[in-house]
Symmetry: C2
Subunit: 413 residues, 2 copies
């Protein structure tokens, strides 16, 4: 058995860095508020650049604000191996979502240095710009532009609630950073591996410290507009009413029944439901509602998605209904070789693991369109995420970083 | 056949007064914005007092702001006959709702004067304070205090959105009026008759110029709070969710089905439906919604009302539900003798009429608790009301005033 970097993963260092990063944007309740391209996000990026420079890793920024730290390989013409996650958080986010994947990748790079293991390929840590999508919508902007799913121009033009564009916010971030190399889009990527907390309860429930992520469930979203007619609650007879709320609630109930599956894999959510004029004695003239529909199998998801408009039309009664599909992201299946490499590395370390799908979206899903990709999950407490009480065990963080280090080494050596 | 005041109803005078009143608070779109105890309302009251003084009618104000113009009778110890409606409007109200009943009563009093017909009883025109309830909630405040349904103290303490109380607004109104007599609460009332536009489409549809109102349908209202648990739309399995929106929409659909009656008399409306946190990718943790339930038959209404909590509980799934009844106003049946008098007066004038219930609430419903009461409806175009396009034909306004004049004379002579 060859020397592996996992033996040089340093739990104390990982913990120090985790605490240092969590201090940037720390909230009173123990969480983190560090939204994309904020002053806190810039400060976190600057800290990462500093940690990289201490190990002679080159820092680079691409035009959309993705940050890279590069450990060079002996054959610079070979595409590099990428690993990382994101530094931004939800407004009331936790200390692990995103940060853990960035720090696990850094720990892997440092372990390789400490072990004195040169590689043929470079390995790059990446911190993707705006994964969360809370300040600038939608999320996963940085990986979407790198993988060709969105244009740079449309992304730079997106504004936050205060009217500040991504372009302007990115300029401010750059002013807070030392001068960095430019990293051109289209730079080939050999493979991408992302470590992340599970954001679900499964690993904790079954007592397994590592998840080998099979893929990311697909997600289709819709906006439904139901139009009826306002009327006096006391005088308009039922048969003459065009009650938009009665129609919309019938649609929601019909879809809820239609999308129930015994295996409980389909996720159907109406999270936003807004009524006009929303007055107790007025029959509603309009309802707008959202649909979020997810399934790990793209074929099943597409079939369900294709039925949405017909179900709404059948339940509309005397109202009009318009169904607009906003997002149609198919399910992602991660690269079989990467998954096998994660299993092998874990096996060699004696780490038990579980194959499981990711129910939340991740940058890895988009990167998988341009390079073989995979993900490692570690357990998080009760599946709580996007919340200040998000938590994970240092023991699991170390295990994930050890497996990641060996996988990256295997891909790059 | 005796002389009747109806022959002295003066269409030109009624039209002039209608136009003069509609000019106070007139909106650009042809409607009226003259909310309760506003400067416009005070100006309308002052105009009414002036018109009364021109005919030597005594003006009086009670402690809650109801305005009275009295044509004295020959036997002052006999309780007077009352007739009127209200001068206040919705913010974007029309020129007929309320105003017509006030002007029809004034026209009746003037016709009696013009005809030189003395009466045993006094006849009082009344303009009720705050029927609409748009500035100060709830509506029908003036008639509620007079009939004992609300206390004077609680009513004077009600504040508008700007924090101005009824008491303060009433002081300002008094400053805009000449000194008026005080009218004590508890003054006996012999009978009350109110003329009003139908606020529904029936009379126009059947081509009948006069409605003899059988009563006012009852109204029960509720606030329902459904509590579940917020969860991630992508990760929370259906069986573990406590989706407040799914539960609330099931409740609405269950009630809608349960309250459908073949005769289309039950009015079931969910006008307000508010979702928390109302975000597309978050399973809703709470929904608050209103129920407005009406029926002309109190027994039927009470039975339906009594089922609301059980239907909501049965449909709550894994959520919690709290049902609070806010209003429980039984149906009102107007006095049989008053209704017969309206029929007789109309018959003598050759006016066809229809018995019909009022689906909207009116001050007459409250006054009926302290005196025999009734209502006369005239057609309004398409049933449009609480709207600047509210309209009624002058021909019908005159017919209504003629019938009203003869009915009042019959009650007071």
């Amino acid at each position: 058995m060859n020397a592996q970097p996992s033996s040089h993963v340093d739990a104390a260092r990982l913990q120090r860095r985790h605490q240092a990063l969590a201090a940037i944007g720390a909230t009173a309740a123990g969480g983190v508020d560090r939204q994309a391209l904020s002053a806190g996000d810039a400060q976190a990026m600057a800290l990462l650049v500093q940690w990289g420079r201490e190990r002679n890793f080159t820092a680079a920024l691409d035009a959309v604000g993705n940050l890279f730290l590069r450990r060079p390989g002996s054959q610079p013409q070979q595409p590099a191996v990428l690993s990382g996650s994101h530094l931004d958080t939800q407004p009331g986010g936790g200390r692990f979502d995103g940060s853990y994947g960035v720090l696990a990748a850094l720990e892997a790079l440092e372990a390789l240095e400490d072990a004195g293991l040169p590689c043929r390929r470079g390995i790059e840590l990446v911190a993707w710009m705006n994964e969360e999508g809370s300040r600038f919508a939608p999320g996963m902007m940085g990986s979407a532009v790198l993988s060709g799913g969105r244009t740079l121009a449309e992304t730079l033009a997106v504004a936050d609630a205060a009217g500040v564009t991504v372009e302007r916010a990115l300029q401010q971030v750059k002013q807070a950073l030392p001068p960095l190399d430019d990293r051109p889009f289209g730079t080939p990527v050999h493979a991408y591996v992302e470590a992340h907390i599970e954001q679900g309860p499964v690993l904790e429930q079954v007592g397994i410290p590592l998840g080998v992520v099979s893929g990311i469930q697909g997600k289709h979203t819709f906006r439904v507009e139901v139009r009826g007619e306002a009327a006096h609650a006391g005088t308009a007879p039922r048969r003459q009413r065009r009650d938009a709320l009665l129609a919309a609630t019938a649609m929601v109930q019909a879809m809820s029944a239609e999308f129930q599956d015994e295996a409980d894999l389909t996720k159907f959510t109406v999270g936003r439901f807004t009524v006009f004029p929303n007055a107790p004695s007025v029959v509603p003239r309009q309802v707008s509602f959202s649909i979020d529909l997810r399934h790990p199998d793209s074929a099943v998801l597409r079939a369900a998605s294709a039925r949405v408009a017909a179900i709404c039309a059948a339940a509309r009664g005397p109202c009009e209904v318009q169904v607009e599909r906003l997002v149609a992201a198919d399910a992602v299946t991660f690269d079989a070789e990467i998954r096998a490499r994660i299993h092998t590395a874990a096996e060699r370390l004696g780490v038990t693991r579980l194959d499981l799908p990711s129910l939340a979206g991740h940058d890895a899903g988009l990167v998988s369109q341009v390079a073989p990709s995979g993900m490692i999950f570690i357990p998080c407490h009760l599946g709580i995420t996007h919340h200040e009480q998000e938590s994970a065990e240092m023991e699991h963080m170390v295990t994930g970083a050890r497996v990641l280090a060996d996988v990256l080494y295997g891909l790059a050596r």
